[in-house]
Symmetry: C2
Subunit: 218 residues, 2 copies
């Protein structure tokens, strides 16, 4: 064990803190950093986050998301999930590209209401496409009933080069990473699907969750 | 209990799904939604999220964040935290505005590595300024050691009107909500502080956490 103590924050170079920067200078700096608009690459180049308000109770939204088969409902093209042979692992089709299989494992935490989809096209050895979602009670953060859903993707290097080309269904099948720049738009469409489904069912007093189509235990 | 079943997703209007929209049409729609730049209001009007890579192990980043007194180090102006009399509640100064007290309670989840700061200026009856943070192992999402930190604020209506004006230290003290449009810039400065502190200490083999300055048990 090291017995060293941490460097006092006062001696770490490169910080912007009130001890060395007057509040009015900080505000002026922030005003200069705040622009009428921001380039796509700056906002969505390395990470892609969406946030949405959903008029449905947070416990129900969390319960819907943690059941991975609901991706068949709210995503554009993930369909036909069935158990893939290993505990917790599912496999389905991504109909965005013909013949493409998508593997998925859900990691969820009921207390933090985080739901992470660990996915990959073509193979399940490395589930590197991670969709990080979280449900937050809107009463806490927006003073209204319902939920806030956040959704973040990080630009894993595999988006830029498929490390498993031999697993593709055909050599000319486009790679998911070619769509990275469209993720914000595509995920916005899917987030709106999610909002529409949950609000429709909640408004009509229906259970928001739906049984799996193909993975019912026999 | 209702015995109704959920509306089949096929009968919910307003969805964009592969069953009714061809992949090439979806891609064209996403291309049209994807712009060279996005207005400030569209990106940061209702929510304000930042994401950052930090070259420091996720367990250490989580442990640093969950200890609220470290806000004294990486924020621009929150200082002098001390216990506020109720379990888990702390009070300090926000030196952004003279005489302003800030109350804070941390809600953290070690498994999901979420750290939420529930804060408010002037009073502790309603801790409505909620800073939602999460630490994600960068190996999972970026295939490299270290951490990804996400940070989301939601535009609570109290930002637009202080519901506790009588608690302000003086009638002309500016309200925190007047700074909402500067949150992205301000939080970017603070996120860079966080990254700088954690990376400095980790690079030098020091403990990243630091004892509280004023709240040491006596």
């Amino acid at each position: 064990m090291s017995t060293s103590t941490s460097t006092s924050v006062d001696r770490i170079p490169g910080l912007t803190r009130v001890e060395s920067t007057a509040p009015e200078d900080m505000i002026n700096e922030c005003l200069a950093m705040t622009r009428p608009a921001y380039p796509h690459e700056q906002v969505y180049g390395r990470f892609c986050t969406l946030e949405e308000y959903v008029d449905c109770p947070p416990e129900q939204v969390y319960d819907y998301l943690r059941q991975g088969h609901h991706l068949e409902e709210w995503t554009f093209s993930v369909r036909n999930f069935e158990p893939a042979g290993k505990p917790g692992l599912w496999v389905g089709d991504d109909r965005l590209e013909e013949g493409t299989r998508i593997f998925c494992r859900v990691a969820a935490n009921p207390d933090a209401m985080t739901v992470d989809y660990h996915c990959a096209w073509d193979q399940s050895d490395q589930l590197w496409m991670v969709y990080l979602m979280r449900v937050v009670p809107a009463m806490l953060v927006l003073n209204r009933p319902g939920s806030v859903v956040t959704w973040t993707n990080c630009r894993h290097p595999n988006y830029d080069a498929n490390p498993y080309p031999q697993s593709a269904p055909r050599p000319d099948r486009p790679w998911i990473g070619e769509f990275w720049d469209l993720f914000h738009a595509g995920h916005l469409v899917e987030m709106r699907n999610l909002k529409t489904i949950l609000e429709h069912r909640h408004r009509n007093g229906e259970p928001v969750s739906h049984p799996p189509l193909r993975a019912v235990p026999r």
